[in-house]
């Protein structure tokens, strides 16, 4: 049989390139074309409200954006949102995973209930939180506060970013729980028993045995969640619309404002490119951290 391994690449007479072509073409269309167009538009004067203003803009879009305080505020908001949701979901997910590992009646039902928020689509869950949980007069939280004799809180105007963080955490906690619970189940019971023989109490077992065992799974949770949390949009759109002011405008929402409220495609594209660079900077740090964990 005619088989060469090196760059000549013919296996059984078939050129491998033709086999790779569909995948490569799809990838090219899927990623490179939109990316190229975004970069191209970011250097153009392209505002849908002013169709007569066209042509090459040079770095004008970038210059305008980078001097706009809204961009820096959006970056800060993005970081706060990602950071807090990661902290809440990872810490909460780990503790819940330990809790769910205990013996109790009806673990199957409890697990399904705990994981179900993940299956509610973001728009719906944001609406539920907005109208049924955090509503200042109809909401469950307002009712709770009132029954304790406290004034009802208008969540989205007094604590806008906190509210968004709560909603997003509620959605992503099940994901963290799911991954960490699976990891928990692979913990060698003998190790726990050996630790018990060595004199470890429940807390010592958690910190010396369970947590090191979960390290890898926690890294994976952080990495995957980060990818999705950097682009949170629906929850903001449905509840606060980025406000009050710019209090809940993250990068994704800022780009939306520029493209579809201000109709400035050039500027939005420049924002998109900046978002890509920003995401990469965050990713480099996180991936480094995760990769280090995966090594040992």
């Amino acid at each position: 049989m005619n088989r060469t391994r090196a760059s000549g690449r013919t296996v059984g007479g078939l050129r491998t390139l033709s086999l790779q072509a569909p995948a490569v073409t799809l990838l090219l269309l899927w990623m490179i074309v939109p990316l190229g167009m975004t970069i191209w538009f970011s250097f153009q004067r392209y505002n849908l409200l002013m169709p007569e203003m066209t042509g090459f803009a040079g770095l004008e879009n970038y210059e305008y954006l980078l001097t706009d305080p809204a961009l820096w505020s959006a970056m800060g908001t993005t970081l706060l949102l990602v950071g807090w949701v990661l902290v809440i979901t990872v810490v909460g997910g780990t503790l819940l995973a330990v809790l769910f590992q205990q013996d109790f009646a009806g673990p199957g039902i409890a697990r399904v209930l705990a994981i179900s928020p993940f299956f509610v689509m973001p728009t719906v869950s944001a609406l539920v939180w907005k109208n049924m949980m955090m509503h200042p007069s109809n909401g469950v939280l307002a009712w709770l506060a009132q029954s304790l004799g406290l004034p009802a809180l208008d969540w989205f105007s007094s604590l806008p970013l906190t509210s968004i963080i709560i909603i997003v955490s509620w959605q992503w906690l099940p994901f963290a729980l799911l991954i960490l619970l699976t990891a928990m189940q692979s913990l060698d019971e003998d190790q726990v028993e050996a630790a018990r023989m060595d004199g470890a109490g429940p807390l010592a077992i958690f910190f010396f045995i369970t947590l090191p065992h979960l390290k890898r799974a926690i890294s994976v949770v952080i990495m995957i969640e980060m990818i999705f949390l950097l682009t949170i949009f629906a929850e903001i759109f449905v509840t606060t619309s980025g406000g009050p002011g710019l209090a809940t405008t993250n990068l994704a929402y800022l780009i939306y404002i520029q493209a579809l409220l201000d109709f400035d495609v050039g500027m939005a594209s420049a924002g998109g490119v900046i978002a890509i660079i920003f995401a990469h900077i965050v990713a480099i740090f996180l991936v480094r951290m995760v990769a280090k964990n995966l090594e040992d």
């Binding site: 060698d188 003998d190 190790q191 028993e193 050996a194 630790a195 018990r196 023989m197 060595d198 004199g199 470890a200 010592a204 010396f208 045995i209 090191p212 065992h213 390290k215 040992d296």
Partner: protein
């Protein structure tokens, strides 16, 4: 001093009784081996001694004090697990020093103790490695080291050698025996491997279905099994069993009719036997000899030549009988052979499977491991006899 007593220990999981009332005394510095087929409850029994499992009923006494309600860390025991259960993210030193770290022992003292144990087990060059970077035998030694560091009054071993290859197993067996002498500690060892039990134990506890079938020295179990189960379990290859008819009961033993019709007198006490009681004769493969005038005959079905010895599997009626024969036997498969049995080495079992008592004790039956040593060294003061 460390003694262990179990008084009528039982264990129930739901409705299933796993341990059905066990009484046992373990003396100071004794090497006791729990042996039995899988599912006999030997691991559960050890876990109850360790405190990882609570006893449903009965008392566990260590040095005379009741320990049922004492936690596993406070019983003064250390356990070596079958899977080693090393902490994968800690170095060898971290693993061995973990119990002291939890107890708040200062770092230098910890290191000194770990080094001391590492020296006994030749682990010094490995102290900074993680378990992942160790071989099976090294991991095993780390697990033992972790137990030694705790300075326990009783060591518990839960099938510690079953994950090792055959050569390493032999080596670790010798090492464990050496360790037992060196540390002078009481050790309890669980295994399903009767070779480990025979070679290391001072006292073997044969467990079956949650009850103790027999307790005794390895030689006592080999020469005087109490019942058919122990007879079949101890010894390799397995003891042969076949039904015989009783002919007469006399002062010199019970005379039975062997398959094939020839009589044979087995020197066992038969006064309590009912005259029509069904009997079974047990004879070990090494106590059957090929003999042209022998009372038994059969056809060789399988022949295993091991060099010094041959294992012959002989079809006798419907039974396949194993014979250990001399390595120079020239027989071939399908040959018919005559063979005889050493009557004084045969056992008779009554209808309940209980062995009839031998008229004479085998001279080695009361031999312990200590006696083996006494033969070559001057006897240690206070050595058990």
């Amino acid at each position: 001093m460390a003694t262990l007593q179990l008084k009528n220990i039982t264990k129930q999981f739901g409705d299933t009784k796993v341990i059905k009332g066990i009484d046992l005394d373990v003396n100071d510095r004794e090497f006791v081996v729990f042996v039995g087929p899988s599912g006999c409850g030997k691991s559960t029994l050890m876990r109850m001694i360790a405190g990882l499992e609570s006893a449903s009923d009965g008392d566990i006494l260590i040095d005379g004090k009741r320990m049922n309600e004492v936690g596993p860390a406070d019983r003064g025991l250390a356990m070596v697990f079958q899977s080693y259960a090393l902490y994968p993210h800690m170095t060898v030193e971290g693993n061995m020093g973990f119990s002291m770290r939890l107890a708040g022992v200062p770092k230098e003292e910890r290191r000194a103790k770990v080094l001391e144990a590492a020296k006994i087990l030749q682990l010094e060059p490995l102290l900074d490695r993680k378990p992942k970077a160790l071989s099976g035998g090294q991991r095993q030694r780390v697990a033992i080291g972790r137990a030694i560091v705790r300075n326990p009054i009783i060591f518990l071993f839960d099938e510690p050698l079953s994950n090792l290859d055959a050569a390493l197993r032999v080596q670790m067996r010798i090492e464990l025996a050496r360790l037992h002498e060196e540390l002078d500690a009481t050790m309890i060892y669980v295994t399903h491997d009767q070779i480990e039990a025979m070679t290391m134990a001072d006292k073997i506890v044969v467990l079956h279905d949650g009850v103790v079938e027999q307790v005794g020295s390895p030689m006592a179990l080999y020469h005087h099994p109490r019942n058919r189960f122990v007879a079949g379990f101890i010894g390799s290859p397995k003891m042969n069993f076949f039904s015989v008819e009783q002919q007469s009961i006399g002062d010199d033993g019970v005379t039975v009719r062997l398959p094939g019709g020839r009589p044979c007198t087995i020197p066992v006490a038969g006064e309590q036997l009912a005259s029509d009681e069904a009997l079974e004769l047990g004879i070990r493969p090494e106590h059957l000899q090929l003999d042209e005038n022998g009372p038994l005959s059969g056809q060789i079905k399988v022949l295993e030549r091991l060099g010094g010895q041959n294992s012959l599997y002989v079809q006798m009626g419907e039974l396949l009988i194993t014979i250990m024969a001399d390595g120079d036997v020239a027989y071939r498969v399908n040959d018919t052979v005559q063979f005889g049995l050493a009557a004084e080495r045969a056992h008779l079992f009554d209808a309940q499977g209980l062995a009839l008592e031998s008229l004479s004790q085998h001279p080695l039956a009361s031999l312990t491991r200590q006696d083996n040593r006494a033969a070559t060294e001057p006897a240690a003061p206070g050595a058990q006899v």
